[in-house]
């Protein structure tokens, strides 16, 4: 096969140069969905009742303040059992699981999380009646300019 013929075949087969999105191994929205499914099983997850607060722009992905809360009377009969937090493109989808009791008073937690890059964070609230609710937030993560060299 002469050179011109080879190029024509290759071009026809592949079309123009394809752009492949490269993600770190294991970090996909699909893996996050799998992790969420492990928690909720076959139950439906309804957006609402959960409030996930994250800054829209973070100066450094090493420590992003996160607050998650769920409106609930927090009584024996009606309370939040747990809140699970997931990320879309961190190396591992799970961030934390917070487990409440009626003695918590309020289903509200604040912490600081690591975000590998600009991405969406999802919080799933699990209520005492077995229902699941969710909220999501997107954070733009900027990188530091002057980085560490050898110490």
């Amino acid at each position: 096969m002469d050179r011109r013929a080879f190029l024509r075949t290759a071009g026809a087969g592949l079309g123009l140069v394809s752009i492949v999105a490269v993600r770190p191994a294991g970090a996909t929205p699909e893996r996050m969905q799998d992790a969420i499914r492990k928690v909720v099983g076959s139950s439906a997850v309804t957006p609402g009742r959960v409030k996930l607060e994250l800054p829209p722009l973070s100066e450094n992905g090493h420590a992003v303040p996160l607050t998650v809360s769920v409106e609930s009377p927090m009584t024996e009969a009606d309370h939040v059992r747990a809140v699970h937090v997931f990320t879309e493109i961190n190396p591992l989808p799970a961030v934390a699981a917070f487990r409440f009791t009626p003695r918590s008073g309020r289903a509200r937690v604040s912490t600081r999380v690591r975000l590998a890059n600009t991405q969406t964070v999802v919080a799933i609230g699990e209520l005492s009646d077995g229902s699941f609710w969710s909220d999501r937030a997107t954070v733009v993560v900027t990188l530091a300019a002057c980085l560490e060299g050898p110490l």
């Binding site: 090493h62 420590a63 992003v64 990320t87 961190n90 190396p91 591992l92 799970a94 961030v95 934390a96 699981a97 917070f98 487990r99 409440f100 009791t101 003695r103 918590s104 008073g105 309020r106 509200r108 937690v109 604040s110 912490t111 600081r112 999380v113 690591r114 975000l115």
Partner: protein, 106 residues
């Protein structure tokens, strides 16, 4: 450096919801990093935090590597009676730290 900073009100009214802030020094090594020569750095994180109030569990957190170094947790509990709040952090490499704070409820 196993040092923890805990902020709990010393006094509260019965039935009041009090906010508790905890900060503990821990590197929270993710297990994803590598040395300059490419060798993996093993995961070393706090995996669990439990708060008990006179022995009864009131709040628990399961932590993964995505929790930032020197984990900071703010949560609440209902001031039911005077006594002791105990905070326990456990994790990889047999990490275990327990701190307590007294509370007077009137």
């Amino acid at each position: 450096m196993a040092r923890a900073l805990i902020n709990v009100p010393a006094q509260a009214k019965r039935g009041e919801i009090i906010e508790i802030k905890t900060l503990i020094s821990h590197v929270m090594e993710t297990g994803h990093r590598r040395t300059e020569t490419g060798a993996p750095i093993a995961r070393d994180i706090i995996r669990q935090f439990v708060c008990t109030y006179n022995g009864a569990e009131v709040f628990r957190a399961e932590l993964h590597p995505a929790i930032a170094a020197n984990p900071f947790l703010v949560f609440s509990t209902v001031a039911t009676e005077s006594g002791t709040l105990t905070f326990t952090w456990t994790g990889d490499n047999a990490f275990s730290v327990t701190e307590s704070a007294a509370i007077t409820v009137s």
